[in-house]
Symmetry: C2
Subunit: 257 residues, 2 copies
């Protein structure tokens, strides 16, 4: 790539989250950076898009010398606006989303606004990477995640992103010197065991508040959660084709009408 690459940055924790600042500080070493991110936290918003309301986009002066905008929509909305309005006459070379405060390993990719923004960019044919740190804290230490992001982004800009358009990168909650390396791997099977907290609001109305713990299938070794537990950052090449090809041949009995 001879010209300076154009890199779009977004996230789901909102434009003022420390995680996006940590990511901007890395990508600005590599090219021209434009930020378009939600104006409020959008965790767990999945691949939601805004159909029935208009979106607002405003220039914000948040990152030194970086063009940045906030939008009142979802992470996927941000990417659509960036591609089709803000940067419509330019080619986005790479989209990075994050650094998320919290894990998006295993099936959490499905609930994740961070990963859905990256997925949306991949649907628009833009190479795209979501970065997530396994630490929910607002004041998390992003230095290990920054080291991993610098390495992966550098390699993608040098070599291209081969054979896929989308990476789900998770980084363990470890001091930077204790991260053992990076592993290309598969999405772990797992599920949430939910435990809604039942309560009463100040007006005596019942409510249910989602809580739960995550159970992972530990039988398989080459998964994101396996390697994260071993102290490695995980990289899962991901895709938007949800077809379960293996089951097609056996489903002919459903074709009777």
């Amino acid at each position: 790539m001879n010209k300076k690459p154009l890199i779009l940055v977004t996230n789901d924790d909102g434009i003022v989250a420390p995680g996006i600042k940590a990511l901007v500080d890395i990508v600005k070493e590599f090219g021209e950076v434009v930020v378009l991110a939600p104006d409020s936290p959008q965790s767990g918003k999945g691949h939601a898009i805004t159909l029935n309301q208009p979106l607002r986009m405003k220039k914000r002066d948040i990152f030194e010398d970086i063009e940045s905008y906030e939008c009142d929509g979802t992470p996927a909305d941000c990417v659509k606006l960036a591609k089709n309005v803000l940067l419509r006459d330019r080619t986005i070379d790479l989209c990075v989303s994050g650094i998320n405060h919290g894990s998006n390993a295993s099936i959490n990719i499905l609930y994740s606004g961070t990963m859905s923004a990256a997925m949306e960019a991949s649907l628009e044919n833009i190479d795209s990477v979501g970065f997530s740190l396994l630490d929910f804290a607002f004041e998390a230490d992003f230095s290990g995640a920054q080291k991993v992001a610098r390495s992966i982004i550098g390699n993608i800009l040098k070599e291209g992103l081969r054979g896929t358009k989308l990476l789900n990168v998770n980084i363990p909650k470890l001091p930077v010197e204790e991260i053992k390396g990076i592993k290309i791997c598969t999405q772990a099977s797992g599920m949430w065991i939910e435990d809604f907290q039942k309560g009463e609001d100040p007006r005596g109305e019942e409510y249910y508040w989602l809580s739960g713990k995550f159970i992972v299938d530990e039988e398989h070794k080459d998964t994101d959660i396996y390697w994260l537990n071993q102290g490695y950052a995980s990289v899962v090449p991901s895709q938007h084709d949800l077809t379960h090809y293996k089951s097609i041949a056996g489903l002919g009995y459903l074709e009777d009408l």
Copy 2:
């Protein structure tokens, strides 16, 4: 299945949409039906879940002789509440979502609240089917979709759902007698070409409103959109593992740290 199966019904157009009524009218022929659906339209909400607010669930008397509840969350929230609160001591034999007013073929599965509810049930290990009619109209004719749903649900309850936990079923907008049959097929490649409508609100503030048209890759024949265009209902067995296995071997260059 000897005992009467327990069937959970949800949707994303809201509990008062005609599509869910059309689906309830079919499933009640097959078993005990419980409805838990959003209290407002949730189209395009993808796999969003509600983390930072409590949920409210209220009994509603909408469908004759059918136990039904509404919830102020997303479609995926409805399934989590049904599984873990409302029906926590029982086994849900099948979850059906829809009938959606509008297509969820191709990549639209990713944006779809209807399909995300079904996906959520499949993550909870419940056989699950999302039904969508290619007609956005509130007053759409659901008789063709009902015929397809009756056939598929009957076959699943008789034979089980083999090799997959999740089906994405779309039905063409045709009079019931013109639907040619049902085809098991793959998710079509396609993309939205967006065209945001730019406007000014009554206070002179700029807004952008999402619009666009869908472009499908017509090279492949065995896809949902191909068969829908031929007058068939499409059934795509779907999954939650987004790993792009084919690209794993070629991504070793990203492991350098």
